[in-house]
């Protein structure tokens, strides 16, 4: 036979090695970069708003989305286009054969196809490690082959084909529109997972509304500020405490480090979602909210109604409910969904453990609902926050040995507090106050007709230009600061 197994493995490894080589050089484009903010974005905006017609605008967005994607991953654009075309035709065929068994076959093909991509490119190394643990495999572990955004766009296309199958939406026949839906740079790399049904109408028919654009700009500026000023600063403290001083931590320092990681994770991820939602609005799309003040939650279940909402909804609609939802084997369904949610976050057992941890608490909360209902709100909030912050340790330490050692430090460290810790607390005190203010759900606490709400809304509307400029300027200053890279020769 021309293609022997050995040959196939050989060629696959060649491709993997090339991709690894490419990965060494590539650096993905992100919103929080000077190239995006001051080069890419103005060019897209000028072209987008100066060209007439929805189709041309969609074409511009598609082309620039591919440029955006190919910036760091020129090779993987093939995968993105393949995935898009695969589901473009699947959607049409599913709809064409609706009511027929072939329709079901096509939706299964779509799901299997997309999940195979994920398995091959995201979980290949993980699967290899686990099989190799039991049986020695005849080929080396595939390394670093995760194409950016694959977890998001495969889920988007899965939701599309399933929704077409369920007759929730009609397929998109215009290929440019479909390619744009899958590759739209606003949410391509870091979500939220945008369901086709959310933006069906806006893909073909959206209007330029200056107020909408301005609200998008405001949202983008806030997101940028959250990411660059807060998440990145918290990230420095995280590295310092959970990495650089890891083994010299006292109990308060260890909790501080992991709390900072919780802050970093939220402001980083929600900052990105804000930027995505804001940019979407600038181009006329209205994406659903992805975060609703999660650190104000009063139970684990409440937390996940507020955190990464688009992922939660995806698993609810496409896994939890089809498995039986609340009606049949609910505990099993909850656990499956949470283990999958964990695995979605990364190809490592610590993420599975993290998912299992939350699955267990969701089930415990379900059976102790009556006790929780009687518990004072403050206690419930405290309980939730402690559980969440602790869970971040499982999220942070991919290495189980380090995780075990760190949990030991969290509860039993005998090291004294380093006086430099107090300096860190005071030196970042304004930032911590800002974090607390931004974590409070003011829109839930304050009534819309309360005086504070009215005055602050009026203030924001009056000075929105100055506020946005200030937020963008501060973010730019910190982005430029990150480029400061003095020559380090004294290491040698």
């Amino acid at each position: 036979m021309f293609f022997t197994t050995d040959k196939i493995i050989f060629y696959l490894l060649q491709i993997t090695n090339y991709c690894t080589f490419v990965r060494l050089f590539s650096k993905d484009m992100v919103f929080s970069s000077l190239s995006f903010l001051y080069i890419f974005l103005p060019i897209v905006l000028i072209l987008y708003f100066s060209c007439p017609g929805k189709l041309i605008k969609n074409l511009i967005l598609t082309v620039f989305s591919y440029i955006f994607y190919a910036w760091g991953e020129p090779m993987w654009i093939i995968l993105l286009i393949f995935s898009s075309l695969f589901d473009y035709f699947n959607g049409i065929l599913i709809y064409k054969w609706r009511g027929h068994i072939f329709s079901k076959v096509m939706v299964i093909v779509s799901i299997v196809g997309n999940l195979s991509l994920l398995l091959a490119f995201k979980y290949g190394g993980f699967i290899w490690e686990n099989i190799n643990f039991f049986v020695e495999l005849p080929f080396p572990k595939p390394e670093n082959t995760l194409p950016i955004g694959i977890s998001f766009y495969t889920f988007q296309t899965i939701s599309y084909t399933i929704d077409v199958y369920r007759k929730i939406v009609k397929p998109q026949y215009n290929i440019i529109n479909f390619l744009m839906f899958v590759s739209l740079f606003t949410q391509l790399v870091a979500g939220p997972i945008v369901r086709y049904k959310t933006i069906t109408r806006e893909i073909e028919n959206r209007k330029i509304n200056w107020d909408d654009i301005w609200s998008g700009v405001s949202r983008f500026s806030i997101g940028m500020f959250k990411k660059v000023l807060i998440a990145n600063t918290a990230g420095m403290l995280v590295e310092k405490y959970l990495d650089a001083q890891y083994f010299n931590l006292s109990i308060p320092e260890a909790w501080f480090g992991i709390t900072m990681f919780s802050v970093q994770l939220y402001f980083d991820f929600s900052g990105y979602s804000d930027m995505a939602i804001g940019l979407g609005r600038v181009f006329g799309f209205h994406f659903d909210e992805n975060f609703k003040h999660p650190y104000a939650a009063t139970s684990v279940a409440d937390f996940y109604r507020r955190w990464h909402i688009s992922l939660g909804r995806f698993f609810r609609d496409y896994v939890y409910i089809p498995l039986g939802g609340n009606r049949r084997k609910q505990d099993r369904n909850i656990m499956i969904v949470w283990l999958l949610t964990g695995l979605w976050h990364g190809a490592s057992w610590n993420f599975v453990l993290w998912g299992g941890y939350f699955g267990c608490f969701m089930i415990i909360e379900k059976y102790s609902k009556s006790i929780l209902d009687k518990t004072p709100l403050a206690i419930k909030h405290l309980y939730t926050i402690i559980l969440i912050i602790f869970s971040r340790a499982i999220f942070y330490f991919v290495d189980f040995d380090k995780l075990r050692a760190f949990i030991g430090i969290l509860f039993t460290s005998k090291k004294p507090i380093n006086p430099a810790f107090y300096s860190d607390l005071s030196a970042h005190s304004f930032l911590f106050i800002l974090v607390i203010i931004l974590c409070i759900p003011w829109n839930e606490i304050l009534a819309k007709d309360s005086k504070i709400w009215i005055v602050s809304t009026k203030f924001y509307n009056s000075y929105s230009f100055a506020i946005n400029i200030l937020l963008l300027a501060l973010s730019t200053i910190m982005l430029v600061d990150a480029t400061y890279n003095p020559f380090i020769y004294f290491r040698f």
Binding site: F25, S26, K27, M29, S33, L34, S35, Y38, I39, P42, I43, I46, A70, W71, G72, P74, M75, W210, I213, W214, V217, T233, E239, K240, D243, A244, Q245, Y246, F247, D401, K402, N418, P419, A420, S423, D424, L425, S426, A427, H428, S429, F432, F465, N468, I469, L472, L474, I477, M478, V480, D481, T483, Y484, N485, P486, F487, I488, Y489, F490, F492
Partner: protein
């Protein structure tokens, strides 16, 4: 209407760097960062496919963003004002770019892995301590790696069979002198590394007890507060320890003339841009032995066309003040003195050796100062052709506890940059001077197997 103007204005603002980037004059070197700024990459099919072109564009934009230096200064002010700064309270600054790579071997068991990481965190975690406007490098070397340095030295000692004395003058890190009790352990830990060097020296290699001598002067300014180097005073005490080991009589400090440079904000300030350090710049006091000298600098590969140099370069100032010593680092500097005792020395050094070497001019007729990081000169050839008496390894501890730098020092025995044979030309023929500033390609591409050093020497 108001919103429309806002949007157009904002679009104008975010578009302006795009025009400024390509219309303003480019700066190619950043003085504060001491590095070349990124150049605009060339677009080729392969560079695009590999992602190196887009990466290069990102770097170019990062490095040439309009008003970058001013913005970086503003950022340091913002960072300083994210909360209350407690005066005189120590702070630990974490500088990720100073962090080493903590990858451990796969075959370690859990307990060894934890120990490995603990050691790593002590040595290479990128932590700097700021205390009263002074920065201290918060690590203490590595007793585990130190024996490799001793072996390299001992191998050289064996190579010269006692005809040439080999000295180890390794400087401790500034962490050894933190004036707070709870950091006192760093002095002991620096000592452990230096003791490991001493205990593993063989074949007659001589150890200079630099830390022991420095410890006699705990209340003096031995290291700069804004720079990782020792002061001229710290280097002088190291020189005393060398004189004791070498059997020389040290020149008293009082007999030297001295000068000052102020303000001096050095490398550690550059890394941190800490305001308390900026407000407390160093004064560099340096001492000059009363010896007439002629200094020449050579490029990395050969002995052609040396440049004139100085032992003390008075014109350096500000952040570059430490370059006063020997005019900064060079692959090879030859110093000829008016001392007449027939003695010649080679100093193998990194930048810590610059402040130290200047005191040696009272004891040698000729001193060859080789920077192992840049030099491609063959050490064996240099020593044999110049009848060298002493080789002094005078370097900061980072260089002695790093396998990469130890290998560089090993490689000096195999470098191909040999001294030309002296040929007497007829008087009537004027020799052509070839300025060979570009290294021959075979030197650049040459790979030397350093593992075989011990075998060759033995």
């Amino acid at each position: 209407m108001k919103i429309k103007i806002y949007i157009i204005l904002l679009l104008f603002i975010i578009s302006s760097p795009l025009f400024l980037l390509f219309t303003t004059e480019n700066i190619y070197v950043s003085q504060t960062e001491r590095r070349e700024l990124a150049k605009l990459p060339k677009l080729t099919f392969s560079s695009y496919l590999s992602g190196s072109w887009s990466n290069g564009i990102d770097k170019y934009i990062d490095d040439h963003f309009p008003f970058r230096q001013n913005i970086i200064y503003i950022a340091s002010i913002i960072r300083h004002n994210m909360g209350f700064q407690i005066k005189d309270r120590e702070r630990i600054l974490y500088i990720p770019r100073l962090k080493g790579n903590a990858n451990y071997p796969d075959d370690l068991d859990s307990a060894s892995k934890i120990n490995y990481l603990t050691d790593f965190n002590e040595a290479m975690a990128g932590n700097l301590l700021v205390l009263n406007g002074c920065i201290y490098t918060l690590n203490s070397g590595s007793p585990t790696v130190a024996p490799a340095f001793s072996k390299m030295l001992s191998d050289y000692a064996l190579q010269f069979e006692g005809k040439v004395r080999v000295f180890s003058c390794v400087a401790p890190l500034s962490s050894a002198f933190i004036p707070v009790e709870r950091y006192a352990r760093y002095n002991g830990e620096n000592k452990k590394t230096l003791d490991a060097i001493r205990d593993n020296l063989t074949n007659g290699a001589i150890f200079c007890d630099v830390l022991g001598e420095l410890n006699k002067h705990p209340n003096e300014k031995l290291f700069f507060g804004s720079d990782h180097h020792w002061t001229a005073l710290g280097a002088y005490y190291a020189y005393i320890s060398f004189c004791e080991a070498a059997g020389f009589e040290a020149i008293p400090l009082e007999s030297m003339t001295y000068k000052y440079k102020y303000p001096f904000l050095g490398t550690l300030y550059e890394q941190t841009r800490d305001k308390t350090v900026r407000d407390n710049p160093d004064t560099m006091k340096y001492y000059m032995p009363d010896v007439f000298t002629v200094a020449e600098r050579y490029n990395a590969y050969n002995y052609n066309a040396p440049c004139h140099s100085e032992v003390f370069c008075e014109h350096f100032s500000g952040g570059g003040s430490y370059s006063t010593f020997l005019c900064g680092d060079a692959p090879l500097i030859k110093i000829t003195t008016d001392t007449r005792n027939g003695k010649k020395a080679v100093v193998i050094k990194n930048s810590m050796g610059n402040a130290f070497s200047v005191y040696l001019i009272s004891h040698y007729e000729e001193i060859f100062v080789l920077d192992f990081r840049y030099s491609k000169h063959n050490l064996i050839d240099l020593i044999e052709k110049n009848n060298i008496n002493d080789i002094i390894f005078a370097l900061g501890m980072y260089g002695a506890v790093n396998h990469g730098t130890i290998n560089m020092m090993k490689q000096m025995a195999f470098n191909r940059g040999k001294m030309p044979e002296i040929i007497t030309l007829p008087d009537t023929v004027a020799p052509d001077i070839i300025v060979d500033s570009i290294p021959p390609e075979e030197f650049i591409n040459e790979e030397i197997n350093t593992d075989s050093l011990s075998e060759t020497i033995n």
